[in-house]
């Protein structure tokens, strides 16, 4: 039945988060109306200013009273992009207020937090989706290959996903990183835990493609590129080897490897090996390769608020466009935000739900435990 009003979207946390992409993504869907930007009470002055900045940029109200914002009848869902340590607390409050959840990735900064989000969504009869890359052309191609049966039974899947951002060459090299478990902090203005931040896409993709649970994880974390990450005790690179149900094996490499390390946004390879065939999917193929004196691309200047270039807004303000040497002509058919609205309208469970997000968090925590101990870690992890 057609709705008599648009889906009201509340944005929890603003600029210098992925809300800079998700908020406009919802606003671009004609079925949605963004009600405003809000956050928990008591956020620090920096976060408050960044929330105000996104509200101003999107020309939507800043709603400083979180509970008032959640009581609004014109709000149906909340897009939550807070620091990972705050995600679960905010999400549970939103779910208790009867709001559907659109969650940044990874879902939460702890196993208990991730579990609490899943429970809150289920107990309140809501839908919850975690942002992923399954709408991107490379993921859709992989899905078609798996479902076509051309490759037969898939025995192994490999995902290599790296982001070509940041100013590399400053990390001290020469010895293995010493990992600690459990990880406690995931994001500061100049560093992120990149296995957590990037491998989550691959974990979600593997579970989505294979429809199997991860049974064990072996992982290694490293500091190869950035002194900022090293100083904060956060890895900038990581490897994972997974065993899934039915004997399927998988590997993941993930990291932030620096501006200029790739002509696209970073290496993105998916290898599927089946008992009848195999395929390598490069997210940057097919592509046109352009060499021209008309092209010029420079790294963005260091922004003191976002020195690694984590956030879309930093690049927009610096006038940075994608590198011009490669032209990939495929674009996502639908945004991830629109896929969530599709689910709300159809009543279907999202393809990467908060349950899937919680599973991904568990796999990532197993990876940190493995990296800390040097051993293979079995799932589920003890609670």
């Amino acid at each position: 039945m057609p709705r008599d009003r648009p889906w009201g979207v509340l944005l929890a946390a603003g600029a210098n988060t992925h809300q800079e992409s998700y908020g406009p993504g919802f606003a671009a869907d004609p079925r949605c109306r963004v009600a405003g930007v809000t956050d928990e009470p008591g956020v620090d002055a920096r976060r408050a200013a960044l929330n105000r900045r996104l509200a101003e940029e999107m020309k939507v109200p800043l709603l400083p009273d979180f509970d008032d914002a959640l009581r609004r009848p014109d709000v149906d869902l909340v897009s939550i992009c807070a620091e990972h340590e705050r995600q679960a607390r905010i999400a549970v409050r939103c779910a208790r207020a009867g709001k559907h959840l659109y969650m940044d990735k990874p879902l939460a900064g702890s196993l208990a937090g991730a579990d609490s989000i899943v429970d809150a969504v289920r107990m309140n009869g809501l839908r919850g989706q975690m942002f992923s890359q399954i709408n991107l052309p490379y993921a859709q191609r992989a899905k078609r290959m798996v479902e076509s049966g051309q490759l037969g039974k898939i025995r192994a899947i490999h995902c290599d996903l790296m982001f070509a951002k940041g100013w590399p060459g400053t990390a001290a090299l020469g010895q293995p990183r010493k990992e600690s478990y459990p990880p406690a902090q995931f994001l500061v203005p100049d560093a992120k835990r990149e296995l957590f931040n990037i491998a989550v896409y691959s974990v979600a993709l593997i579970r989505w493609l294979m429809r199997r649970e991860v049974l064990s994880v072996r992982a290694v974390t490293a500091n190869y590129f950035f002194q900022e990450h090293q100083r904060r005790g956060m890895e900038d690179f990581g490897l994972m080897a997974l065993t899934l149900e039915d004997g399927v094996t998988a590997t993941i490499t993930a990291g932030r490897i620096g501006w200029m390390s790739h002509f696209g946004s970073g290496p993105n390879l998916t290898r599927l090996y089946g008992d009848k065939g195999s395929v390598l999917i490069d997210a940057f193929r097919p592509r046109a390769e352009v060499a021209s004196g008309m092209l010029d691309w420079k790294r963005p200047p260091r922004d003191p608020e976002d020195p690694m270039g984590f956030w879309r807004g930093t690049q927009v303000r610096a006038g940075i466009t994608p590198r011009p040497e490669w032209l990939t002509l495929e674009t996502p058919v639908r945004s991830d935000q629109s896929l969530f609205i599709d689910c709300l309208e159809s009543g279907q469970e999202p393809e990467v739900s908060v349950f899937d997000g919680a599973k991904a968090v568990e796999v990532l925590f197993a990876a940190y435990r493995s990296a800390a101990t040097g051993e293979v870690v079995s799932l589920p992890l003890p609670r």
């Binding site: 025995r155 192994a156 490999h158 290599d160 790296m162 590399p168 060459g169 990390a171 090299l173 020469g174 010895q175 293995p176 990183r177 072996r218 290694v220 490293a222 500091n223 190869y224 590129f225 690179f237 490897l239 080897a241 065993t243 004997g247 094996t249 590997t251 490499t253 990291g255 490897i257 620096g258 200029m260 390390s261 790739h262 290496p267 390879l269 290898r271 090996y273 008992d275 065939g277 195999s278 390598l280 040097g374 051993e375 293979v376």
Partner: protein, 151 residues
């Protein structure tokens, strides 16, 4: 009489001669996919040949290896750690309808190199016996194995 280098040895020498470090900085990580033989019995040898070459490229002795896969089903992967902190993920798969090919992604601390080739039929050396033993041990135990006294 000089021994003819294998395809992987030749590739390693060519990359070293090309001055990789001047282009990508210090090599820190390697991701490689090898489909060089249709014989699944040679896959472990491909990994055992590639892993010590990676160590030479990193100028670092090996630490341990974790291997997965099934030789009889035509696929093996090794996650390799080196003493200097470098890492490699090496995958060897049996060629079926595809012609022999490989893809190498070498990550330096200031850049990256991607190399793809379809070399046709290639000679394989069978790999370093110490590496073969370590990879075999990991496959059989399901746990990481230390690589001892590797060449």
């Amino acid at each position: 009489m000089p021994i003819t280098p294998t395809y992987l040895e030749s590739l390693h020498r060519a990359m070293a001669a090309a001055g990789i470090e001047r282009r990508i900085g210090t090599p820190v990580a390697l991701r490689a996919y090898f489909q060089l033989t249709a014989d699944h019995g040679l896959l472990l040898g491909v990994l055992a040949e590639a892993a010590p070459l990676a160590g030479r490229g990193f100028s670092s002795p090996p630490l341990r290896v974790y291997a997965q896969g099934a030789e009889r089903d035509g696929y093996l992967t090794a996650l390799v750690e080196f003493a200097g902190g470098q890492t490699a993920v090496l995958t060897a798969e049996a060629c079926r309808t595809e012609e022999p090919q490989l893809l190498i992604l070498l990550i330096g601390n200031q850049g990256a190199l991607q190399y793809q080739d379809t070399p046709g039929r290639v000679a394989l050396a069978g790999g370093d016996p110490v590496w073969r033993a370590a990879i075999r041990e990991s496959l059989e135990s399901g746990r990481p194995a230390m690589v001892k006294h590797a060449a």
